[in-house]
Symmetry: C2
Subunit: 278 residues, 2 copies
Protein backbone atom coordinates (compact mmCIF):
# COMPACT_ATOMS: atom_id res chain seq x y z
CA UNK A 1 0.00 0.00 0.00
CA UNK A 2 1.36 3.45 -0.86
CA UNK A 3 1.61 6.35 1.55
CA UNK A 4 -1.11 8.24 -0.30
CA UNK A 5 -3.49 5.25 -0.18
CA UNK A 6 -2.94 4.97 3.57
CA UNK A 7 -3.61 8.69 4.06
CA UNK A 8 -6.74 8.45 1.90
CA UNK A 9 -8.01 5.52 3.99
CA UNK A 10 -7.43 7.49 7.19
CA UNK A 11 -9.38 10.48 5.87
CA UNK A 12 -12.21 8.38 4.48
CA UNK A 13 -12.63 6.29 7.65
CA UNK A 14 -11.84 9.24 9.97
CA UNK A 15 -9.62 6.91 11.96
CA UNK A 16 -5.96 6.07 12.34
CA UNK A 17 -6.62 3.08 14.55
CA UNK A 18 -4.59 -0.10 14.25
CA UNK A 19 -6.05 -3.13 16.01
CA UNK A 20 -3.42 -5.41 17.51
CA UNK A 21 -4.16 -9.11 17.12
CA UNK A 22 -2.30 -10.41 20.21
CA UNK A 23 -4.38 -13.54 20.30
CA UNK A 24 -3.69 -15.61 23.41
CA UNK A 25 -5.42 -18.97 24.00
CA UNK A 26 -5.44 -18.19 27.73
CA UNK A 27 -7.43 -15.00 27.22
CA UNK A 28 -9.94 -15.63 24.44
CA UNK A 29 -13.54 -16.44 25.44
CA UNK A 30 -14.12 -20.03 26.48
CA UNK A 31 -17.07 -20.62 24.15
CA UNK A 32 -14.78 -20.18 21.11
CA UNK A 33 -13.12 -23.50 21.90
CA UNK A 34 -16.47 -25.27 21.63
CA UNK A 35 -17.55 -23.47 18.48
CA UNK A 36 -14.22 -23.78 16.66
CA UNK A 37 -12.15 -26.53 18.31
CA UNK A 38 -9.93 -26.95 15.23
CA UNK A 39 -8.69 -23.37 15.05
CA UNK A 40 -9.92 -21.15 17.89
CA UNK A 41 -7.24 -18.54 17.14
CA UNK A 42 -8.51 -17.93 13.62
CA UNK A 43 -12.16 -18.04 14.74
CA UNK A 44 -11.45 -15.39 17.38
CA UNK A 45 -9.48 -13.23 14.94
CA UNK A 46 -12.18 -13.45 12.26
CA UNK A 47 -14.86 -12.31 14.70
CA UNK A 48 -12.69 -9.45 15.98
CA UNK A 49 -11.83 -8.36 12.44
CA UNK A 50 -15.44 -8.43 11.24
CA UNK A 51 -16.47 -6.38 14.29
CA UNK A 52 -13.72 -3.76 14.14
CA UNK A 53 -12.98 -3.33 10.41
CA UNK A 54 -15.30 -0.29 10.01
CA UNK A 55 -13.37 1.61 12.69
CA UNK A 56 -9.73 0.90 11.88
CA UNK A 57 -7.31 1.25 8.99
CA UNK A 58 -4.78 -1.38 10.03
CA UNK A 59 -4.31 -4.73 11.77
CA UNK A 60 -1.18 -5.76 13.57
CA UNK A 61 -0.79 -9.45 14.40
CA UNK A 62 1.91 -9.85 17.03
CA UNK A 63 3.92 -12.81 15.76
CA UNK A 64 4.99 -14.03 19.23
CA UNK A 65 1.42 -15.03 20.03
CA UNK A 66 1.33 -17.30 16.97
CA UNK A 67 4.85 -18.72 17.29
CA UNK A 68 4.06 -19.85 20.80
CA UNK A 69 1.61 -22.36 19.29
CA UNK A 70 4.18 -23.82 16.91
CA UNK A 71 3.27 -24.62 13.31
CA UNK A 72 -0.46 -24.55 14.15
CA UNK A 73 -0.05 -20.95 15.26
CA UNK A 74 1.67 -20.22 11.98
CA UNK A 75 -1.27 -21.73 10.08
CA UNK A 76 -3.72 -19.57 12.08
CA UNK A 77 -1.63 -16.50 11.27
CA UNK A 78 -1.56 -17.25 7.55
CA UNK A 79 -5.34 -17.83 7.53
CA UNK A 80 -5.92 -14.56 9.37
CA UNK A 81 -3.84 -12.59 6.88
CA UNK A 82 -5.54 -14.21 3.90
CA UNK A 83 -8.93 -13.45 5.44
CA UNK A 84 -8.14 -9.75 5.91
CA UNK A 85 -6.71 -9.48 2.38
CA UNK A 86 -9.74 -11.14 0.79
CA UNK A 87 -12.45 -9.46 2.85
CA UNK A 88 -11.08 -6.01 3.71
CA UNK A 89 -8.53 -5.16 1.00
CA UNK A 90 -8.22 -1.55 2.24
CA UNK A 91 -6.67 -2.66 5.54
CA UNK A 92 -2.94 -2.16 6.07
CA UNK A 93 -1.41 -5.28 7.69
CA UNK A 94 1.65 -5.02 9.91
CA UNK A 95 3.53 -8.06 11.19
CA UNK A 96 4.76 -7.07 14.63
CA UNK A 97 7.84 -9.26 14.63
CA UNK A 98 10.69 -6.91 15.58
CA UNK A 99 13.13 -8.84 13.43
CA UNK A 100 16.76 -7.80 12.98
CA UNK A 101 19.68 -9.86 11.70
CA UNK A 102 22.63 -9.71 9.30
CA UNK A 103 21.98 -9.01 5.63
CA UNK A 104 21.55 -12.54 4.27
CA UNK A 105 19.23 -13.44 7.15
CA UNK A 106 17.27 -10.18 6.90
CA UNK A 107 16.62 -11.09 3.27
CA UNK A 108 15.05 -14.38 4.42
CA UNK A 109 12.80 -12.54 6.89
CA UNK A 110 11.84 -10.11 4.12
CA UNK A 111 10.88 -13.05 1.92
CA UNK A 112 8.88 -14.61 4.77
CA UNK A 113 6.81 -11.53 5.53
CA UNK A 114 6.66 -9.70 2.18
CA UNK A 115 6.74 -12.50 -0.42
CA UNK A 116 5.31 -15.56 1.28
CA UNK A 117 2.77 -13.71 3.43
CA UNK A 118 2.35 -10.53 1.36
CA UNK A 119 2.07 -8.24 4.39
CA UNK A 120 2.30 -4.47 4.04
CA UNK A 121 4.77 -3.82 6.82
CA UNK A 122 7.09 -5.41 9.34
CA UNK A 123 8.46 -4.06 12.61
CA UNK A 124 12.27 -4.22 12.65
CA UNK A 125 14.84 -3.75 15.45
CA UNK A 126 17.71 -1.33 14.73
CA UNK A 127 20.53 -2.70 16.93
CA UNK A 128 22.41 -4.45 14.09
CA UNK A 129 22.38 -1.42 11.78
CA UNK A 130 22.14 -0.82 8.05
CA UNK A 131 22.48 -4.28 6.50
CA UNK A 132 19.89 -5.64 8.96
CA UNK A 133 17.35 -3.02 7.87
CA UNK A 134 17.78 -2.18 4.18
CA UNK A 135 16.82 -5.64 2.78
CA UNK A 136 13.25 -4.89 3.88
CA UNK A 137 13.30 -1.65 1.89
CA UNK A 138 13.90 -3.37 -1.42
CA UNK A 139 10.24 -4.38 -1.78
CA UNK A 140 8.16 -1.74 -3.60
CA UNK A 141 4.99 -0.84 -1.72
CA UNK A 142 6.20 -2.53 1.47
CA UNK A 143 7.12 -0.77 4.70
CA UNK A 144 9.82 -1.07 7.32
CA UNK A 145 8.63 0.00 10.77
CA UNK A 146 11.80 0.59 12.76
CA UNK A 147 11.88 0.63 16.56
CA UNK A 148 12.95 4.07 17.76
CA UNK A 149 11.43 4.97 21.15
CA UNK A 150 9.42 2.08 22.53
CA UNK A 151 6.53 2.19 24.99
CA UNK A 152 7.92 -0.09 27.70
CA UNK A 153 9.84 0.57 30.92
CA UNK A 154 12.96 -1.06 29.46
CA UNK A 155 13.09 1.68 26.81
CA UNK A 156 15.06 3.67 29.39
CA UNK A 157 17.90 1.13 29.57
CA UNK A 158 19.56 1.84 26.23
CA UNK A 159 17.42 4.11 24.04
CA UNK A 160 18.42 7.18 26.07
CA UNK A 161 22.18 6.53 26.06
CA UNK A 162 23.44 9.95 25.09
CA UNK A 163 26.59 10.81 23.15
CA UNK A 164 28.96 13.71 23.84
CA UNK A 165 26.75 16.03 21.78
CA UNK A 166 23.67 15.13 23.82
CA UNK A 167 22.16 13.05 21.01
CA UNK A 168 20.32 10.06 22.42
CA UNK A 169 20.39 6.59 20.87
CA UNK A 170 16.77 6.79 19.68
CA UNK A 171 17.64 10.06 17.95
CA UNK A 172 20.64 8.40 16.27
CA UNK A 173 18.28 5.69 15.02
CA UNK A 174 15.74 8.22 13.70
CA UNK A 175 18.41 10.22 11.87
CA UNK A 176 20.51 7.36 10.51
CA UNK A 177 17.56 5.33 9.21
CA UNK A 178 16.47 8.24 7.05
CA UNK A 179 19.69 7.78 5.10
CA UNK A 180 18.40 4.30 4.22
CA UNK A 181 14.68 4.86 3.68
CA UNK A 182 12.20 7.67 3.21
CA UNK A 183 8.66 8.68 4.08
CA UNK A 184 7.31 6.27 1.45
CA UNK A 185 8.82 3.08 2.90
CA UNK A 186 9.93 3.83 6.45
CA UNK A 187 7.86 4.29 9.61
CA UNK A 188 9.07 4.45 13.19
CA UNK A 189 7.73 2.92 16.40
CA UNK A 190 7.24 5.61 19.05
CA UNK A 191 5.42 4.72 22.27
CA UNK A 192 2.33 6.60 23.45
CA UNK A 193 3.71 6.33 27.00
CA UNK A 194 6.61 8.64 26.13
CA UNK A 195 4.45 11.82 26.31
CA UNK A 196 6.20 14.99 25.20
CA UNK A 197 9.21 13.01 23.95
CA UNK A 198 7.05 12.27 20.92
CA UNK A 199 7.68 15.88 19.92
CA UNK A 200 11.43 15.14 19.92
CA UNK A 201 10.75 12.21 17.60
CA UNK A 202 8.71 14.43 15.27
CA UNK A 203 11.49 17.00 15.16
CA UNK A 204 13.86 14.45 13.59
CA UNK A 205 11.25 12.57 11.56
CA UNK A 206 8.70 15.20 10.53
CA UNK A 207 7.25 13.30 7.58
CA UNK A 208 7.47 9.60 8.48
CA UNK A 209 4.43 7.76 9.71
CA UNK A 210 4.72 6.71 13.36
CA UNK A 211 3.31 3.44 14.66
CA UNK A 212 2.30 4.27 18.21
CA UNK A 213 1.68 1.44 20.68
CA UNK A 214 0.93 1.96 24.35
CA UNK A 215 -2.55 3.50 24.30
CA UNK A 216 -4.90 1.54 26.55
CA UNK A 217 -3.44 -1.29 28.67
CA UNK A 218 -0.02 0.39 28.78
CA UNK A 219 -1.45 3.76 29.91
CA UNK A 220 -0.64 6.15 27.03
CA UNK A 221 -2.99 9.01 26.15
CA UNK A 222 -4.44 9.44 22.66
CA UNK A 223 -4.80 13.17 23.20
CA UNK A 224 -1.09 13.54 24.00
CA UNK A 225 -0.13 11.43 21.00
CA UNK A 226 -2.16 13.66 18.68
CA UNK A 227 -0.82 16.84 20.29
CA UNK A 228 2.85 15.89 20.07
CA UNK A 229 3.05 13.67 17.03
CA UNK A 230 0.33 14.32 14.46
CA UNK A 231 1.51 15.99 11.27
CA UNK A 232 -0.39 17.52 8.36
CA UNK A 233 -0.97 14.10 6.78
CA UNK A 234 -1.96 12.64 10.16
CA UNK A 235 1.25 10.57 10.10
CA UNK A 236 0.02 8.26 12.83
CA UNK A 237 -1.15 4.72 13.25
CA UNK A 238 -2.16 4.29 16.88
CA UNK A 239 -2.39 0.71 18.03
CA UNK A 240 -4.62 -0.80 20.67
CA UNK A 241 -4.54 -4.54 21.32
CA UNK A 242 -5.70 -5.75 24.73
CA UNK A 243 -8.00 -2.75 25.29
CA UNK A 244 -10.08 -3.83 22.30
CA UNK A 245 -9.77 -7.56 21.78
CA UNK A 246 -10.13 -8.51 25.47
CA UNK A 247 -12.60 -5.77 26.45
CA UNK A 248 -15.08 -8.57 27.12
CA UNK A 249 -14.35 -12.25 27.57
CA UNK A 250 -18.00 -13.26 27.27
CA UNK A 251 -19.99 -14.27 24.22
CA UNK A 252 -20.38 -10.55 23.46
CA UNK A 253 -16.60 -10.11 22.98
CA UNK A 254 -16.94 -9.01 19.36
CA UNK A 255 -19.72 -6.50 20.02
CA UNK A 256 -17.75 -5.00 22.93
CA UNK A 257 -14.57 -4.93 20.83
CA UNK A 258 -16.50 -2.99 18.17
CA UNK A 259 -17.69 -0.48 20.79
CA UNK A 260 -14.15 0.05 22.08
CA UNK A 261 -12.78 0.45 18.56
CA UNK A 262 -15.57 2.87 17.65
CA UNK A 263 -14.91 4.93 20.79
CA UNK A 264 -11.26 5.25 19.90
CA UNK A 265 -12.09 6.06 16.28
CA UNK A 266 -14.48 8.80 17.41
CA UNK A 267 -11.77 10.37 19.57
CA UNK A 268 -9.40 10.10 16.61
CA UNK A 269 -11.92 11.83 14.32
CA UNK A 270 -11.98 14.78 16.76
CA UNK A 271 -8.20 15.10 16.64
CA UNK A 272 -8.22 14.92 12.84
CA UNK A 273 -10.87 17.65 12.69
CA UNK A 274 -8.99 19.85 15.15
CA UNK A 275 -5.97 19.66 12.86
CA UNK A 276 -8.05 20.41 9.76
CA UNK A 277 -7.22 17.06 8.13
CA UNK A 278 -10.88 16.07 7.69
CA UNK B 1 21.75 -27.72 29.94
CA UNK B 2 23.86 -26.32 32.79
CA UNK B 3 27.06 -24.35 32.35
CA UNK B 4 29.10 -27.20 33.81
CA UNK B 5 27.54 -29.76 31.43
CA UNK B 6 28.38 -27.52 28.49
CA UNK B 7 31.98 -27.12 29.67
CA UNK B 8 32.26 -30.89 30.19
CA UNK B 9 30.99 -31.51 26.64
CA UNK B 10 33.55 -29.07 25.24
CA UNK B 11 36.40 -30.79 27.07
CA UNK B 12 35.24 -34.28 26.16
CA UNK B 13 34.74 -33.49 22.47
CA UNK B 14 37.73 -31.11 22.33
CA UNK B 15 35.58 -28.71 20.38
CA UNK B 16 33.55 -25.56 20.93
CA UNK B 17 32.03 -25.64 17.48
CA UNK B 18 28.42 -24.67 16.88
CA UNK B 19 27.04 -25.64 13.48
CA UNK B 20 24.57 -23.13 12.10
CA UNK B 21 21.58 -24.67 10.35
CA UNK B 22 20.80 -21.83 7.90
CA UNK B 23 18.99 -24.16 5.56
CA UNK B 24 18.04 -22.47 2.30
CA UNK B 25 16.08 -24.29 -0.42
CA UNK B 26 18.04 -22.33 -3.02
CA UNK B 27 21.35 -23.64 -1.75
CA UNK B 28 20.86 -27.27 -0.73
CA UNK B 29 21.92 -29.99 -3.17
CA UNK B 30 19.46 -30.67 -5.96
CA UNK B 31 19.32 -34.44 -5.40
CA UNK B 32 17.74 -33.89 -1.97
CA UNK B 33 14.53 -32.73 -3.65
CA UNK B 34 14.26 -36.06 -5.47
CA UNK B 35 15.13 -38.18 -2.45
CA UNK B 36 12.91 -36.31 0.02
CA UNK B 37 10.33 -34.28 -1.91
CA UNK B 38 8.04 -33.97 1.12
CA UNK B 39 10.53 -32.33 3.45
CA UNK B 40 13.88 -31.54 1.84
CA UNK B 41 14.78 -29.13 4.64
CA UNK B 42 14.57 -31.81 7.31
CA UNK B 43 16.33 -34.38 5.09
CA UNK B 44 19.21 -31.96 4.53
CA UNK B 45 19.42 -31.05 8.23
CA UNK B 46 19.36 -34.70 9.30
CA UNK B 47 22.25 -35.57 6.98
CA UNK B 48 24.26 -32.54 8.12
CA UNK B 49 23.62 -33.33 11.78
CA UNK B 50 24.58 -37.00 11.43
CA UNK B 51 27.78 -35.98 9.65
CA UNK B 52 28.87 -33.20 12.00
CA UNK B 53 27.66 -34.32 15.45
CA UNK B 54 31.01 -35.89 16.44
CA UNK B 55 32.80 -32.59 15.88
CA UNK B 56 30.49 -30.01 17.46
CA UNK B 57 28.81 -29.31 20.80
CA UNK B 58 25.95 -27.16 19.57
CA UNK B 59 23.52 -26.56 16.71
CA UNK B 60 22.02 -23.21 15.86
CA UNK B 61 19.03 -23.21 13.52
CA UNK B 62 18.52 -19.70 12.17
CA UNK B 63 14.78 -19.20 12.44
CA UNK B 64 14.52 -16.83 9.45
CA UNK B 65 15.35 -19.67 7.08
CA UNK B 66 12.39 -21.68 8.39
CA UNK B 67 9.91 -18.81 8.66
CA UNK B 68 10.48 -17.98 5.03
CA UNK B 69 8.79 -21.29 4.16
CA UNK B 70 5.69 -20.55 6.24
CA UNK B 71 4.13 -23.25 8.40
CA UNK B 72 5.96 -25.98 6.48
CA UNK B 73 9.25 -24.40 7.49
CA UNK B 74 8.06 -24.39 11.06
CA UNK B 75 7.26 -28.13 10.82
CA UNK B 76 10.75 -28.82 9.42
CA UNK B 77 12.27 -26.83 12.30
CA UNK B 78 10.32 -28.75 14.93
CA UNK B 79 11.30 -32.08 13.34
CA UNK B 80 14.94 -31.02 13.28
CA UNK B 81 14.94 -30.09 16.95
CA UNK B 82 13.20 -33.31 17.96
CA UNK B 83 15.73 -35.29 15.91
CA UNK B 84 18.72 -33.67 17.61
CA UNK B 85 17.17 -34.11 21.06
CA UNK B 86 16.40 -37.81 20.48
CA UNK B 87 19.62 -38.77 18.71
CA UNK B 88 22.31 -36.51 20.16
CA UNK B 89 21.09 -35.51 23.64
CA UNK B 90 24.45 -33.93 24.52
CA UNK B 91 24.05 -31.21 21.89
CA UNK B 92 23.19 -27.67 22.99
CA UNK B 93 20.50 -26.20 20.73
CA UNK B 94 20.27 -22.46 20.13
CA UNK B 95 17.39 -20.82 18.29
CA UNK B 96 18.93 -17.90 16.45
CA UNK B 97 15.86 -15.71 16.45
CA UNK B 98 17.06 -12.37 17.83
CA UNK B 99 13.71 -11.71 19.45
CA UNK B 100 13.02 -8.64 21.57
CA UNK B 101 9.66 -7.19 22.60
CA UNK B 102 7.78 -5.82 25.64
CA UNK B 103 7.35 -8.04 28.70
CA UNK B 104 4.06 -9.75 27.90
CA UNK B 105 5.21 -10.49 24.35
CA UNK B 106 8.65 -11.65 25.46
CA UNK B 107 6.89 -14.16 27.69
CA UNK B 108 5.10 -15.56 24.63
CA UNK B 109 8.41 -15.92 22.76
CA UNK B 110 9.89 -17.62 25.83
CA UNK B 111 7.01 -20.09 25.82
CA UNK B 112 7.46 -20.70 22.08
CA UNK B 113 11.17 -21.47 22.25
CA UNK B 114 11.64 -22.89 25.76
CA UNK B 115 8.32 -24.63 26.53
CA UNK B 116 6.88 -25.61 23.18
CA UNK B 117 10.18 -26.38 21.47
CA UNK B 118 12.34 -27.12 24.53
CA UNK B 119 15.45 -25.44 23.12
CA UNK B 120 18.45 -24.67 25.32
CA UNK B 121 18.99 -21.09 24.28
CA UNK B 122 17.59 -18.19 22.31
CA UNK B 123 19.34 -15.15 20.83
CA UNK B 124 17.71 -11.93 22.04
CA UNK B 125 18.07 -8.28 20.91
CA UNK B 126 18.73 -5.72 23.66
CA UNK B 127 17.23 -2.51 22.21
CA UNK B 128 14.02 -2.64 24.29
CA UNK B 129 15.80 -3.20 27.61
CA UNK B 130 15.12 -5.12 30.79
CA UNK B 131 11.51 -6.25 30.47
CA UNK B 132 12.22 -7.52 26.94
CA UNK B 133 15.08 -9.72 28.20
CA UNK B 134 14.33 -10.99 31.72
CA UNK B 135 11.28 -13.15 30.82
CA UNK B 136 13.72 -15.51 29.06
CA UNK B 137 15.76 -15.81 32.25
CA UNK B 138 12.91 -17.25 34.27
CA UNK B 139 13.36 -20.74 32.79
CA UNK B 140 15.81 -22.89 34.82
CA UNK B 141 18.48 -24.48 32.66
CA UNK B 142 17.65 -22.23 29.69
CA UNK B 143 19.90 -19.52 28.29
CA UNK B 144 19.50 -15.99 26.97
CA UNK B 145 22.08 -15.13 24.32
CA UNK B 146 22.04 -11.34 24.12
CA UNK B 147 23.35 -9.40 21.13
CA UNK B 148 26.28 -7.24 22.22
CA UNK B 149 28.82 -6.70 19.43
CA UNK B 150 27.64 -8.30 16.21
CA UNK B 151 29.71 -9.53 13.28
CA UNK B 152 28.17 -7.48 10.48
CA UNK B 153 29.07 -4.15 8.88
CA UNK B 154 25.96 -2.53 10.35
CA UNK B 155 27.33 -3.16 13.86
CA UNK B 156 29.13 0.15 13.44
CA UNK B 157 25.93 2.17 13.04
CA UNK B 158 24.70 2.09 16.65
CA UNK B 159 26.73 -0.36 18.76
CA UNK B 160 29.65 2.09 18.98
CA UNK B 161 27.61 5.16 19.97
CA UNK B 162 29.67 6.44 22.86
CA UNK B 163 28.48 8.34 25.93
CA UNK B 164 30.24 11.26 27.61
CA UNK B 165 32.36 8.83 29.63
CA UNK B 166 33.54 7.01 26.49
CA UNK B 167 31.40 3.95 27.20
CA UNK B 168 30.08 2.48 23.97
CA UNK B 169 26.56 1.10 23.54
CA UNK B 170 27.74 -2.51 23.33
CA UNK B 171 29.58 -1.98 26.62
CA UNK B 172 26.41 -0.59 28.20
CA UNK B 173 24.60 -3.72 27.06
CA UNK B 174 27.29 -6.04 28.46
CA UNK B 175 27.30 -4.28 31.83
CA UNK B 176 23.57 -3.71 32.26
CA UNK B 177 22.57 -7.25 31.28
CA UNK B 178 24.72 -8.67 34.05
CA UNK B 179 22.37 -6.97 36.51
CA UNK B 180 19.61 -9.17 35.08
CA UNK B 181 21.38 -12.48 34.49
CA UNK B 182 24.57 -14.28 35.35
CA UNK B 183 27.13 -16.66 33.92
CA UNK B 184 24.70 -19.57 34.38
CA UNK B 185 21.90 -18.21 32.20
CA UNK B 186 23.34 -15.38 30.11
CA UNK B 187 25.63 -15.50 27.09
CA UNK B 188 26.53 -12.68 24.70
CA UNK B 189 26.89 -12.56 20.92
CA UNK B 190 30.28 -11.15 19.95
CA UNK B 191 31.36 -11.29 16.31
CA UNK B 192 34.59 -12.98 15.20
CA UNK B 193 35.04 -10.15 12.71
CA UNK B 194 35.56 -7.63 15.54
CA UNK B 195 39.17 -8.78 16.20
CA UNK B 196 40.80 -7.21 19.25
CA UNK B 197 37.49 -5.65 20.32
CA UNK B 198 36.66 -9.12 21.64
CA UNK B 199 39.14 -8.36 24.42
CA UNK B 200 37.04 -5.31 25.37
CA UNK B 201 34.00 -7.59 25.54
CA UNK B 202 35.91 -10.04 27.78
CA UNK B 203 36.95 -7.21 30.11
CA UNK B 204 33.31 -6.47 30.94
CA UNK B 205 32.03 -10.05 30.74
CA UNK B 206 34.91 -12.22 31.96
CA UNK B 207 32.83 -15.26 32.88
CA UNK B 208 29.92 -15.35 30.43
CA UNK B 209 29.97 -17.69 27.48
CA UNK B 210 30.24 -15.86 24.16
CA UNK B 211 28.47 -17.07 21.04
CA UNK B 212 30.81 -16.04 18.24
CA UNK B 213 29.49 -15.89 14.67
CA UNK B 214 31.49 -14.64 11.73
CA UNK B 215 34.16 -17.33 11.32
CA UNK B 216 34.19 -18.61 7.74
CA UNK B 217 31.93 -16.91 5.19
CA UNK B 218 32.06 -13.61 7.10
CA UNK B 219 35.86 -13.63 7.33
CA UNK B 220 36.60 -13.85 11.08
CA UNK B 221 39.66 -15.72 12.37
CA UNK B 222 39.38 -18.58 14.86
CA UNK B 223 42.89 -17.89 16.13
CA UNK B 224 42.02 -14.29 16.97
CA UNK B 225 38.81 -15.33 18.67
CA UNK B 226 40.70 -17.75 20.91
CA UNK B 227 43.44 -15.22 21.63
CA UNK B 228 41.12 -12.38 22.62
CA UNK B 229 38.08 -14.11 24.04
CA UNK B 230 38.83 -17.58 25.46
CA UNK B 231 38.67 -17.80 29.24
CA UNK B 232 39.71 -20.55 31.66
CA UNK B 233 36.47 -22.48 31.05
CA UNK B 234 36.80 -21.95 27.28
CA UNK B 235 33.75 -19.66 27.45
CA UNK B 236 33.23 -19.83 23.70
CA UNK B 237 30.81 -21.30 21.24
CA UNK B 238 32.11 -20.48 17.77
CA UNK B 239 29.55 -20.79 15.01
CA UNK B 240 30.06 -21.70 11.40
CA UNK B 241 27.09 -22.04 9.09
CA UNK B 242 27.67 -21.59 5.36
CA UNK B 243 31.33 -22.69 5.56
CA UNK B 244 30.20 -26.13 6.70
CA UNK B 245 26.73 -26.85 5.40
CA UNK B 246 27.33 -25.53 1.88
CA UNK B 247 30.98 -26.61 1.56
CA UNK B 248 29.81 -28.92 -1.21
CA UNK B 249 26.54 -28.79 -3.11
CA UNK B 250 27.02 -32.25 -4.62
CA UNK B 251 25.90 -35.64 -3.38
CA UNK B 252 28.95 -35.62 -1.09
CA UNK B 253 27.67 -32.55 0.81
CA UNK B 254 27.47 -34.40 4.13
CA UNK B 255 30.94 -35.94 3.85
CA UNK B 256 32.44 -32.58 2.96
CA UNK B 257 30.53 -30.88 5.78
CA UNK B 258 32.02 -33.44 8.19
CA UNK B 259 35.51 -32.69 6.89
CA UNK B 260 35.02 -28.94 7.35
CA UNK B 261 33.61 -29.43 10.85
CA UNK B 262 36.46 -31.77 11.78
CA UNK B 263 39.02 -29.26 10.49
CA UNK B 264 37.56 -26.52 12.64
CA UNK B 265 37.33 -28.86 15.66
CA UNK B 266 40.99 -29.80 15.24
CA UNK B 267 41.99 -26.14 15.23
CA UNK B 268 39.81 -25.63 18.29
CA UNK B 269 41.48 -28.54 20.09
CA UNK B 270 44.86 -26.84 19.54
CA UNK B 271 43.60 -23.60 21.11
CA UNK B 272 42.15 -25.52 24.07
CA UNK B 273 45.45 -27.32 24.58
CA UNK B 274 47.41 -24.08 24.34
CA UNK B 275 45.27 -22.65 27.13
CA UNK B 276 45.67 -25.81 29.25
CA UNK B 277 41.94 -26.56 29.23
CA UNK B 278 42.37 -30.06 27.81
Amino acid sequence: MTRQELIDNIKRKKSYLCVGLDTDLNKIPKHIFEEAPDDPVFAFNKAIIDATAPYCVAYKPNIAFYETLGYQGWIALEKTIRYIRATYPDQFIIADAKRGDIGNTARMYARAFFDYMDLDALTVAPYMGEDSVTPFMEYPGKWTVLLALTSNKGSHDFQFVSDTGGKRLFEHVLAKAQEWGNKDNLMFVAGATQGSLLADVRKIAPDNFLLVPGVGAQGGSLEEVARYAMNDDCGLLVNSSRGIIYASTGTDFDTVAAIEARNLAEQMAETLKARGII
